[in-house]
C-alpha cells in the first residue's frame, strides 16, 4: 500500500477556519481523481463536508468553543484508502446516539454525524493522549476491484 499524501494541520478552535480545512479537503479530492472513477465534483464536496462537520463538532461540542484550544486534523491517503482523523482537546461528545437513521426532517440540529456516517465507510470516536479523535475511513477501491476490504 503506497502512501500518496499526508496532511497534518493544527488550527485554532474557531469556525472561521472551517473554510480553509474544507478547501484542503477539496484539494485532496483532486489528488484522488487519478485512482477513483467517481464524480470529481461530488467527491470534493463529500470530503469538504466530512471535514467541515467533524471540525465543527470538535470546536463546539468537544472543545466547547474555547479559543485557547486547537483542532488537529490529519489526512492520510494511500492508493486505495482515505483516512481522516480529527483530534480535539475536550471531554468528548457522544456520537453513539446519532445512528444511521435519517434524522427527523423537522429538527433544526443533529444531522452532522449522520452525514459523516452516510459518506464514510467507518466512523469511530475514541480517547487519545490529549483528548479524543474522530477517526473516519473510506475505501477508494472501485467496484471492479475484486479484493476484500479490512
Amino acid at each position: 500500500m503506497k502512501n500518496l499524501l499526508e496532511v497534518d494541520i493544527k488550527v485554532p478552535n474557531q469556525t472561521k477556519y472551517l473554510r480553509l480545512i474544507g478547501q484542503i479537503g477539496e484539494d485532496v479530492a483532486g489528488a484522488l481523481q487519478k485512482f477513483n472513477d467517481s464524480d470529481p465534483e461530488e467527491l470534493a464536496y463529500h470530503i469538504n463536508l466530512v471535514l467541515t462537520e467533524a471540525m465543527a463538532n470538535a470546536i463546539k461540542h468537544a472543545n466547547k468553543n474555547d479559543p485557547n484550544k486547537d483542532v488537529h486534523i490529519s489526512i492520510n491517503l494511500t492508493d486505495d484508502q482515505l483516512w481522516i482523523r480529527v483530534y480535539d482537546q475536550g471531554q468528548g461528545f457522544d456520537i453513539s446516539s446519532a445512528d444511521m437513521q435519517t434524522p427527523d426532517p423537522e429538527l433544526d440540529h443533529g444531522r452532522g454525524v449522520f452525514l459523516i456516517r452516510s459518506l464514510m465507510d467507518s466512523v469511530k470516536y475514541r480517547r487519545c493522549k490529549k483528548g479524543n479523535v474522530l477517526e473516519m475511513y473510506k475505501s477508494l477501491r472501485t467496484s471492479c476491484d475484486n479484493h476484500s476490504v479490512e
Binding site: 472551517l18 463536508l49 462537520e53 470546536i59 426532517p105
Partner: protein, 111 residues
C-alpha cells in the same frame, strides 16, 4: 454574511450572497430570518444560487426559519439550488420538507 432582500407583493426574496453556508455563518442566517419575521414578513423565498456548499448547520438554520415561518402562518421556500447542495437536501430528506423551485419567479408565483 452578505444577504440581499427584495420585497414583492406576496413574499420577500432573500438572496444569500455567500459561497458557503456552514457552522461559521448559519447563526447569522437565523438572525436575518428572525429580523424579517419581526417585521411581520413571514412568506420568504431564499435564493441559494450563490451557495456552493452547505453543511448540517446551514440546513438546520433553514429548517429553523421554516418552522418559525410556519408558526406565523407563513412559509419559507427555496430556489436556485446547485447540484451538490440539492443532493444534501435529498440525503437528509429535507427535499420533502421544503418546496424547492428552479427560479425565484417560480417560487414567487407559488405563493
Amino acid at each position: 454574511m452578505i444577504v440581499t432582500s427584495k420585497d414583492f407583493d406576496k413574499a420577500v426574496v432573500m438572496s444569500i450572497e455567500e459561497e458557503r453556508l456552514d457552522a461559521h455563518n448559519s447563526n447569522e442566517l437565523k438572525s436575518q430570518l428572525m429580523n424579517l419575521f419581526e417585521e411581520g414578513k413571514s412568506n420568504i423565498v431564499i435564493d441559494l444560487q450563490h451557495v456552493r456548499f452547505i453543511d448540517s448547520s446551514g440546513l438546520g438554520a433553514l429548517v429553523s426559519g421554516f418552522k418559525n415561518a410556519g408558526s406565523r402562518e407563513g412559509n419559507v421556500k427555496l430556489c436556485g439550488l446547485q447540484k451538490q447542495v440539492k443532493s444534501m437536501f435529498e440525503l437528509t430528506r429535507l427535499h420533502r420538507v421544503f418546496e424547492i423551485f428552479p427560479s425565484e419567479e417560480e417560487a414567487l408565483a407559488s405563493f
